[in-house]
Symmetry: C2
Subunit: 456 residues, 2 copies
């Protein structure tokens, strides 16, 4: 489905002209002839973007914008306010009301469409991070960031030091963020002693025409700065460069000379968006890590060990190489909990997990499989090596007593069952059953020992 | 840290010239004077990109490329093969060996740097999806896609129908994917009856100079096509447009007239990359969903219910509105398991979860909190409404017997404790304790009933 854009204007001729521009780029266009109708349609149709006239008899664009932002159902829809006014006060009011941008009539189609593309792209990225599937609600993705945010870092990159100093003076007292003038070289080779900037303000003609755009593309190709927000400063006449800057991934544009109040408002909006996106990325990462790991030991959990084991088996089928599965169970663990308490039991599990981790290769899988049971998978391993590895793990676990949280320490031991996968071996669950049977034999034979296949 | 690029060439003058180009863009440059040294350095230093000379006395570039691709430690590093040769056979050999691109000497600095940026950007995106933190190994992110991949869909978009037909003829018999000539309008308004293309081949001068680049930016701003791979076809002389296309997000370039064999190789590589990225996005999404939900009932799990409840409480603090927490416990559930077996117990849990879901608002939270215990949170709800909701849920659960998997059915009931949050209420854990106390009172008073705060 193409992007759906709501055009709000009380004058039919304005709406028609806008529709012509947008239809050529194959957007679906919805129309509203007034502010109240706009609120209704926005809530009902959830358009991807709203082009909003500033002056309307029933409810002006600023009020519509404020109401859209206050309603959770419409708060995230990008809004461009359009008007014949060109004065700084109108621009500031529009931005302060939460508009993403402000365009003056007569509209420049090139700039209009580049802005539309840029805002739609940003919205898609944000929605993709938020997963669109309901998970976000539970994970709190749709909640605004709460509480204290530390000051951000804003880099000002201009061809001449005086230009950057002028921008810095214009921002004085308007932001709590740290503002740092920088050369192009400094922007590309950040000082390891400082945080990488969250936001760059870049002069378009940096070291030659289009140099600012080249810096933008270079920042976007580097891991540290690829998610930084970038605002490009251009002369008022540079309309093609302006459209190109947006298509190259600039988050916002302003024309020189810069108005300090407007720059501050735009930077605040970009900083808030950058922070929210950073938070979403962190949440995604943490969520996945949580899903895969056992909180006590930090080892992978059973839920993730099983599919991983299936992939090891698939690969073994492909390569013809063998792999081993070890099931390891701590001996008489129930007695540890009963006699020394659960904190002691937890300390033993954590210590054993650490000893396993320290004595396996990076390619091996080690997971907490159940209460006091661990699963280890050793890819590209034959039976002799697997039994030797199991014996080594058994020895390491019993090598030194575990210090208990209440003082004192405790000698522990483990029984280990080994089974071989790959080649003619059966399914993953048959393999785990075989390892479990070997573990049972090891327990029956007196514990603290390894049982497994005959080594050939 | 800036990007680190390994330059491999047996001629020192070539290495120095390359280093000058790259240093101006502030990349860190590593050097290797031969193929074997390149393999060592690539493995040891894990550079972000490799520029590889084709002809070297000890080990030629093609062999180096093949070995880098075969070693998991270096398989994902982008490689550009550089040579004086310009013949089609050399290009095909380089691409077939796994090179991402092939550049002929004398090198065009503009194109070289745009390619470098483009490949580094693609690598960053792939690595970000794979999380870079070890989780990917367990989640199988680093495994190549296995098994049968259904044919993809490739759109050919050219100004004249004959051009697209010529490309299609050149590809005949070389790919298993569905190949579809398309107009610009069709590319932007995909037919809902067909799958959206995975890959677009677009003529640079589509409906006027740079029209292909504009279509590229439009595809990138639309949700259905933003992750599609795009290959732009340009005249050999269009070097500035070529660099711009890469910076605008084209995944690959070719010069007209198109060589069918080379086009097929490039499209195959792009299709494989697109598929892998799609798979990573799906895995991320599934992983998060799994992390948040209880596999049996599909309800959110306790781990995710608690932070969500904390956010509901925060919002209530902010808005001054109240919210309710319900703890719901099935009556005599142990007897269900004991008498009818675990499959029957599971069926009861699933049915109750469904009844809860069907009788709550979209903004409400419902989670499986423990074995047979459910937590429901109702934002923006006063005590009267909360008790009425609890009473409704109690009635719905007992309204009809649950069908058992072994045949027959079973009448179930639940006890519910209600506690109010917001305003002067305490912490989330105090709130859960209050709901738990109310639940205990409901159980003590004979079960199948609601207990809660006095409704005011």
């Amino acid at each position: 489905m193409p992007g759906r854009i709501l055009v709000v204007d009380d004058l039919a001729t304005n709406r028609i002209m806008m529709k012509v521009h947008l239809a050529d780029a194959h957007y679906d266009v919805l129309q509203a002839a007034g502010g109240r109708a706009a609120l209704d349609i926005a809530r009902r149709e959830a358009p991807d973007l709203i082009l909003l006239d500033m002056m309307m008899p029933d409810l002006d664009g600023i009020s519509v914008c404020e109401r859209l932002r206050a309603d959770p159902a419409t708060a995230e829809i990008p809004i461009i306010i359009v008007t014949a006014a060109t004065d700084a006060r109108s621009r500031l009011r529009a931005l302060a009301a939460g508009a993403d941008d402000f365009l003056s009539r007569p509209l420049d189609e090139l700039i209009l469409l580049a802005r539309v593309r840029s805002l739609l792209r940003a919205r898609e990225t944000a929605q993709e991070l938020a997963l669109r599937d309901g998970t976000e609600r539970l994970l709190g993705f749709s909640e605004p960031a709460q509480g204290f945010a530390p000051p951000g870092r804003i880099a000002l990159v201009a061809a001449r030091a005086e230009t950057a100093a002028g921008w810095q003076a214009a921002l004085a007292g308007r932001l709590t963020d740290r503002i740092v003038p920088m050369t192009r070289a400094e922007a590309l080779s950040p000082d390891p002693g400082h945080a990488v900037p969250d936001l760059f303000v870049i002069e378009g003609d940096l070291g030659g025409p289009g140099g600012g755009l080249r810096l933008l593309t270079e920042l976007r190709s580097r891991s540290e700065t690829r998610h930084a927000a970038v605002l490009i400063v251009l002369p008022p006449t540079a309309r093609e460069t302006a459209a190109m800057a947006l298509d190259l991934g600039a988050n916002d544009l302003m024309t020189a000379p810069l108005d300090g109040a407007e720059l501050a408002l735009r930077l605040k909006a970009q900083m808030a968006r950058k922070r929210q996106a950073d938070r979403l990325r962190d949440t995604l990462r943490d969520g996945l890590r949580m899903a895969a790991t056992d909180p006590l030991t930090g080892l992978f959990n059973r839920r993730y060990a099983l599919p991983h084991l299936a992939r090891i088996a698939e690969r073994a089928d492909r390569t013809g190489r063998r792999f081993a599965v070890l099931l390891l169970d701590l001996d008489r663990f129930k007695a540890v909990n009963d006699r020394h308490g659960h904190a002691a039991g937890d300390a033993v599990l954590v210590a054993v997990a650490q000893r396993l981790r320290d004595n396996l290769r990076a390619v091996d899988l080690v997971a907490r499989f159940g209460g006091e049971e661990f699963l280890v998978a050793l890819p590209d391993t034959d039976a002799t090596a697997a039994c030797a590895a199991a014996e080594r793990l058994r020895r390491v676990i019993g090598a030194a007593p575990v210090a208990l949280p209440g003082g004192g320490d405790l000698q522990v031991s483990a029984s280990i069952g080994v089974a071989m996968g790959g080649a003619e071996a059966g399914t993953v669950s048959a393999l785990i059953e075989a390892a479990d049977a070997a573990l049972y034999r090891a327990k029956s034979a007196g514990r603290d020992r390894v049982d497994g296949p005959a080594t050939d």
